[in-house]
Each structure stands twice: as structure tokens, then as C-alpha cells.
């Protein structure tokens, strides 16, 4: 995606924007969060992160299929990002694609054995799937 605005921002500003968008999402202001994540996609090199954010907004809305599409975009952009695979696995599980969900979660744990970058999240969701309730 080409940056439509002639704006260069610092790394700290990128982080600030991302954290603000995450806060918007977590406080339930989903429309504003989506607008922010959309804008950040065109401003940063790590585009998979705002794409994950957009997916998480759709997930919060309960639009799991649309969330899957966003997370797949993130995985396509950064195939080695455990966080993207973990989110994809979660959204797939909620949209009842359980086998694909298992694969995505397994991939996340393989990519992040230490767990801090999405591996733990994948393991916890896996545990939930093991209850057979999703």
C-alpha cells in the first residue's frame, strides 16, 4: 500500500498511534479504532500489526469471517509473525473452522516457543479448544 499522505512519522509516534488504537478498541470505540488502524496501515512498515488490529476490531464486533480475512492479510504480509497466526487461529475457531484453527495455533507456537510474541496466546486458546467447547 502506498502512503497517500506526505507524512513521515518517528518510531515513537508509530507506537503511540498503535497503542492509542488498541486503547480505542479495548474501550469499545470500535469504529474509531478501525479508522485509526486503517490510517496506520499506510504509515508504517510493519503493516501486519495494524492489520491484526483491524482483524481484532472485526473479532470484537463478532464478525469472525471478516476477522479471518484481515488476519489472513496479516499472515500473508508477515508469514513468520506468531501473533498473526495466533489471532488467525482464534478467529478460525470462532468461525467453526476448527481444523484450520488448530493448524494456525500450532504454527504460532512453533514460531514463538518462548511465548511472549503470540505463542502463549496460541497455547491458551489451544487449551480452550481442548475443552471441546468452541
Amino acid at each position: 500500500m502506498v502512503n497517500p499522505l506526505p507524512i513521515a512519522i518517528t518510531t515513537d509516534e508509530k507506537r503511540f498511534l498503535m497503542e492509542s488504537a488498541v486503547l480505542m478498541r479495548d474501550s469499545g470505540r470500535l469504529d474509531q479504532a478501525a479508522v485509526m488502524f486503517e490510517a496506520i496501515v499506510s504509515l508504517v512498515d510493519d503493516r501486519h500489526l495494524p492489520l491484526i488490529g483491524l482483524g481484532s476490531v472485526e473479532f470484537e464486533r463478532g464478525a469472525f469471517e471478516r476477522a479471518v480475512e484481515r488476519f489472513e492479510d496479516a499472515v500473508a504480509f508477515a508469514p513468520d509473525c506468531a501473533l498473526a497466526h495466533a489471532h488467525l487461529g482464534e478467529a478460525l475457531a470462532f468461525s467453526r473452522h476448527l481444523e484450520e484453527a488448530q493448524l494456525a495455533l500450532r504454527k504460532a507456537t512453533e514460531l514463538d516457543p518462548a511465548g511472549t510474541a503470540g505463542g502463549n496466546m496460541a497455547r491458551q486458546i489451544q487449551k480452550f479448544l481442548d475443552y471441546g467447547l468452541l
Binding site: 511472549t116 496466546m121 491458551q124 467447547l133
Partner: protein
């Protein structure tokens, strides 16, 4: 029998959810509500199960039935607490992973 259900309601998953999540409906909060409904259904069925057992037991061993129902209830409560704990861990690990990713942005 009637003294069992209030105990169950103290641990109703919906109540735990409503005190720990915000007003918007995420996938997990929706799931929590569904889980709460399932738990409620099971709680509601405990007396029915008890009645069936009582009619089978012509001796009318009421204390055995009561103990059995309490065990069922305890299992349900334990399962709900375990689910809640897992969901809480998912939220925590999700947030930590997101913050780590943001901190590592270049």
C-alpha cells in the same frame, strides 16, 4: 432441592463475566454468555434429574440424591471457574503479545 440453586447462582458465569468485561460484545464475551446459558441449563436440570432418580429409587433415599446433586453442582462450578481462568489467561497473553509487538515496531 430449593436450597441448591441459590448456591449455583452465586457462581453463575454470566455474573462473573458482567463484572469483568466491558459493555461491548466480543467473541469471548458472547461465548461467556453462551457458556453461562449452558451452565444455567444444567443447573436448571439438576432438580429434574433429582426427581427422576427419586422415582427410580423406591426406597426414597433422599440424602443420597441430595449428595449426588451436590457433586454435579460442584463439578459444574469447578468447570466454570476453570473456563473463566483460561479466558482470563487468554486476554492477558493477548494483551502482552500485542504490547510486545508494538514495542518492537521500527
Amino acid at each position: 432441592m430449593s436450597n441448591i440453586n441459590p448456591v449455583g447462582q452465586n457462581y453463575d458465569f454470566r455474573q462473573i463475566q458482567s463484572t469483568t468485561t466491558s459493555s461491548h460484545q466480543s467473541g469471548w464475551s458472547k461465548f461467556g454468555r453462551i457458556l453461562g446459558d449452558v451452565a444455567g441449563g444444567v443447573m436448571g436440570n439438576v432438580p429434574v434429574l433429582g426427581s427422576a432418580l427419586s422415582s427410580l429409587n423406591t426406597q426414597g433415599d433422599a440424602s443420597f440424591n441430595q449428595q449426588y446433586e451436590l457433586i454435579l453442582l460442584q463439578q459444574q462450578i469447578q468447570q466454570n471457574m476453570q473456563m473463566f481462568s483460561t479466558m482470563s489467561n487468554i486476554s492477558k497473553s493477548k494483551h502482552e503479545a500485542a504490547m510486545t509487538a508494538i514495542r518492537n515496531m521500527k
